[in-house]
C-alpha cells in the first residue's frame, strides 16, 4: 500500500490555472467516486481551496497512480492535461506524509500560520469519509496530520501574532484594554480597512459600534453594514469622550482631531485609556496626540511595522515547526512499518517448525523403530503443539499492527523467539 499526492498551489500555478481546477461543493462528491473507482486506487481525498488543489490517494503495491490521477484531474475538470501538467507536483510515501503534515500545520500556506487551512483539510476529510473514499492508511495519516497541526500550533504559537494590518489593530486593542467586551468603537469615514478592523473588533467582543461620515447617505450605509449606531458628522467630536477605540479613515485633507482637542477629550473621559487608529492618508489625527498620557495613537505605518515584526517572528517559529514535523514524519513512517507484520508472522512460523524438526531428529534415536501409526501420532502431536503456541502471538501481532505502539510488540515477539531480521 502506498501514498501519493498530486497537486498545485499558489507557488506553482497562477490563479487562472487554480480556478479552473478548483472543485466546488457540488462536484466534490461525484469526483471522489470517480477517483476511487480508478484501478488500483484504494482511497482518495480531494482538498480544494483558493490557494491549492490537491489529490491524495493510496494505491495497491506495484501500481503507479501518477498518470491516472493526472488523467483524472484533466478529465473531471475538463482542462487539457498539457495546460496543467507544468504546474503539478507529485510526492509519494514519506515525502507525501511530510507534505500533508506541512499543509495541515499551515507551513505551506501563503500566509504561514493562517488557521483556515486546517479547517479546510478537515472538511475535505469529512467529505471523503461521507462518500466512503477513506478507510485505512489515508485515514490514519490524515487524522495524525490534524494532531500534528494542533501540536505545532500550541507548541510554537505560530498563529498568535497578527500579520494583517486590520488584525494587528485588534491585537493592539487587546494589549491596551485586555478584554474588548463593552468597549465602544467609533468609526470615522468609510473604507475597506476600517470595515475589516470593525468586523474583527466585533468578533472580539466590542459590540457597541458607532459610525460617522461626511456624507449622511454613506454613513447610513456604514451603520447598516457594521450594525452600528449613526452619529452626525458635525457632532462626532462631542461623543469621543465616551469612546474607547476610534478608527479614522476619512478623506479629509486636514486633521479631524488635534492635540488640544484630544487633551480636552481625555480630560472629559477622566483619563480612560483611548486607542486611536488612524489609517487615513493624509492622516486624520495630529501625530502629537500620541504624546498625551493614556492616549495611544497608531497610524498606518505604525501598524505596518507591527505586522513586519510579527511576520519575522512567524518565520522563526516556522523553523521550530519544521523540526516538529520532521519528528512526526519519522514516527508515522515507523508506525506504518509496524503495520507490515506479515514477514514477522512467516518467520515466526518457520522458526517454530525448525525447532520441531530439530527436537524430533534428536529424539528419534532414543525412540527406536516406530509403527506408521505411532509416527503419525508424534507428527500430529508436535504440529498441534506449535500450532497452539503460535496462535496467541500471531493473532496478537495482527491486532497490534494497527496500534500506534505496535512496533514495540513486534520487536518483543522477534526478540522472544530469536527471529533474525
Amino acid at each position: 500500500m502506498r501514498l501519493f499526492i498530486t497537486g498545485l498551489n499558489h507557488r506553482t500555478a497562477p490563479v487562472e490555472v487554480r480556478e479552473r481546477l478548483a472543485f466546488d461543493h457540488h462536484s466534490l462528491g461525484p469526483a471522489l467516486g470517480e477517483l476511487v473507482a480508478g484501478s488500483g486506487v484504494l482511497e482518495g481525498v480531494i482538498l480544494s481551496t483558493c490557494n491549492r488543489v490537491e489529490v491524495a490517494v493510496t494505491v495497491e503495491n506495484g501500481c503507479d497512480p501518477q498518470a491516472a490521477v493526472d488523467e483524472f484531474l484533466s478529465r473531471s475538470r475538463k482542462v487539457p492535461l498539457d495546460q496543467i501538467a507544468p504546474h503539478l507536483y507529485h510526492v509519494q510515501d514519506e515525502e507525501a506524509i511530510r507534505h500533508l503534515f506541512r499543509v495541515a500545520a499551515s507551513l505551506d500556506s501563503m500566509l504561514v500560520g493562517e488557521p483556515q487551512i486546517l479547517g479546510q483539510l478537515k472538511s475535505a476529510y469529512a467529505a471523503a469519509k461521507a462518500h466512503g473514499a477513506v478507510s485505512g492508511l489515508l485515514e490514519l495519516i490524515l487524522t495524525r496530520a490534524f494532531g500534528v497541526a494542533k501540536r505545532v500550533r500550541s507548541e510554537t504559537g505560530i498563529g498568535e501574532s497578527a500579520i494583517s494590518v486590520s488584525y494587528a489593530a485588534v491585537e493592539l486593542a487587546r494589549e491596551i484594554f485586555g478584554s474588548l467586551a463593552d468597549k465602544q468603537v467609533m468609526i470615522v469615514g468609510a473604507g475597506k480597512m476600517s470595515e475589516l478592523a470593525a468586523r474583527h473588533l466585533r468578533r472580539s467582543g466590542a459590540t457597541r459600534i458607532f459610525v460617522t461620515n461626511r456624507t449622511h447617505e454613506r454613513a447610513r450605509e456604514m451603520a447598516a453594514a457594521f450594525e452600528g449606531t449613526l452619529v452626525e458628522y458635525d457632532r462626532f467630536l462631542d461623543t469621543l469622550p465616551e469612546m474607547d477605540i476610534v478608527i479614522t479613515s476619512s478623506g479629509a485633507p486636514h486633521y479631524l482631531l488635534n492635540k488640544s482637542q484630544a487633551r480636552r477629550i481625555i480630560e472629559a473621559s477622566k483619563n480612560r485609556p483611548m486607542f486611536l487608529i488612524d489609517i487615513a492618508v493624509p492622516r486624520n489625527i495630529e501625530p502629537a496626540v500620541n504624546e498625551i498620557d493614556n492616549i495611544f495613537l497608531y497610524d498606518i505605518d505604525d501598524l505596518q511595522r507591527v505586522v513586519e515584526v510579527n511576520v519575522g517572528e512567524r518565520r522563526k517559529r516556522a523553523e521550530q515547526a519544521e523540526q516538529i514535523i520532521a519528528l512526526e514524519v519519522e514516527r508515522m513512517v515507523a508506525r506504518l512499518k509496524a503495520r507490515e507484520v506479515a514477514p514477522t508472522i512467516v518467520s515466526l512460523q518457520e522458526r517454530l517448525e525448525e525447532m520441531r524438526q530439530a527436537e524430533l531428529a534428536r529424539l528419534r534415536g532414543k525412540l527406536g523403530p516406530l509403527t506408521p501409526q505411532q509416527e503419525e501420532a508424534i507428527e500430529s502431536l508436535t504440529r498441534g503443539l506449535i500450532g497452539k503456541i503460535a496462535h496467541g502471538p500471531i493473532s496478537e501481532l495482527r491486532r497490534q499492527a494497527a496500534q500506534p505502539e505496535g512496533i514495540r510488540f513486534i520487536e518483543a515477539i522477534r526478540k522472544a523467539f530469536r527471529l533474525e531480521d
Binding site: 493592539l172 494589549e175 491596551i176 478584554s179 483619563n271 485609556p273
Partner: protein, 273 residues
C-alpha cells in the same frame, strides 16, 4: 481639657468614623448611595457635637480652644468639616467626601489624644492591640508592594505601546488594562489596611505613652505618608488619576513607605514612658 467636652469630642470621633467606613467601602468596592446617606448624616451630627465640644471648652477656659497642638488639630478638623458641609450644600460637591471624611476623622482622633486616657487594664490587651496594629500594617504593605510591582510593569508596558513596538519585547506582559485594574485594586486594599493601622497605632501609643511622641519627626513622616496615600486615592476616585503619572506617584508613595518603615525601627524607646 474640660471633662465634658472630651466626651463630646469622642462622640464626634465615633460619628466621623462612620464616614470613614463609607470611604473605605467606596475605595475597595463601589459607592453605595444608602451608606453615603447614613455616613453623611453621622458626619453632620458629628460636626454639631464637635462644635459643642469646642465651644464648651472655650467657655470653660474663657479662651479659644487652640492652646496646644491637639486642640489646634481638633479645631482644624472642625473647620475642614464645616467648609466641606458648605461646599456640599452649595455645590453638591460630594466626591470631596472621599478626602475629607478620613482627614477629619484622623485630625479629630489626634485632637482627642491630647487628653489623657485610662491606662491599660490588662497587659495582654495592650499586646494584642499592638499586634493588631502590626498585622494591619503588614497586610497594607503587602498590598502596597503588589501595587508597586504592578506600576513598574505598567510603566514598562506603557512605554512599549507608546514606542509602537509591542510584540518585539521578549517577555509578554499582561495587557495595560489588566495591570491598571490590579494596580488600583491593590492600592485600595492597601489604603484601607494602612488607614486602620494608623488609627490602631496612634490609639495604642497614646494610651501607652501619652502624647509626647506625636511631634517626633519619625511619626510625622508616617502621617505624611498616609496623607500622600489619601491624596493619591482621592484623585484616582474623583479625577480619574491613572496612567503613567499615577504609576509614578505610586512609586513615590512606595519610597515614602520604605522611609516610614525604616523610621519605625527604634520607636519603642521613644514610646517608653
Amino acid at each position: 481639657m474640660h471633662e465634658m467636652s472630651v466626651v463630646w469630642l469622642r462622640v464626634a470621633a465615633v460619628l466621623y468614623s462612620l464616614g470613614l467606613i463609607h470611604v473605605l467601602l467606596t475605595v475597595i468596592h463601589r459607592r453605595r448611595e444608602r451608606v453615603f446617606r447614613v455616613a453623611m448624616a453621622a458626619f453632620s451630627t458629628g460636626v454639631v457635637v464637635h462644635a459643642v465640644s469646642i465651644v464648651e471648652h472655650s467657655l470653660a477656659t474663657s479662651r479659644l480652644a487652640a492652646n496646644d497642638f491637639f486642640q489646634s488639630a481638633s479645631l482644624c478638623a472642625l473647620l475642614i468639616a464645616l467648609l466641606f458641609l458648605f461646599l456640599y450644600w452649595r455645590y453638591g460637591y460630594e466626591s470631596l467626601a472621599v478626602f475629607v471624611f478620613p482627614l477629619v476623622f484622623i485630625l479629630t482622633l489626634i485632637g482627642e489624644l491630647g487628653s489623657p486616657m485610662a491606662r491599660w487594664g490588662d497587659m495582654r490587651l495592650r499586646d494584642a492591640w499592638l499586634l493588631v496594629h502590626v498585622g494591619l500594617v503588614l497586610i497594607g504593605y503587602a498590598a502596597l508592594f503588589l501595587a508597586t510591582v504592578t506600576s513598574v510593569l505598567y510603566l514598562v508596558r506603557e512605554r512599549q505601546l507608546k514606542a509602537k513596538r509591542p510584540g518585539a519585547a521578549p517577555s509578554r506582559l499582561p495587557p495595560l488594562g489588566t495591570l491598571d485594574k490590579v494596580l488600583w485594586r491593590a492600592l485600595s486594599i492597601g489604603f484601607v489596611f494602612i488607614t486602620l493601622s494608623v488609627i490602631a497605632g496612634s490609639t495604642w501609643a497614646s494610651i501607652e505613652a501619652g502624647t509626647h511622641w506625636i511631634r517626633d519627626p519619625r511619626i510625622v513622616i508616617s502621617l505624611l505618608t498616609w496623607a500622600l496615600y489619601l491624596v493619591i486615592v482621592f484623585f484616582h476616585l474623583t479625577a480619574g488619576w491613572r496612567g503613567r503619572k499615577a504609576a509614578v506617584m505610586v512609586l513615590a508613595l512606595a519610597g515614602c513607605s520604605v522611609i516610614t518603615w525604616a523610621a519605625h525601627t527604634g520607636l519603642r524607646s521613644l514610646l517608653a514612658r
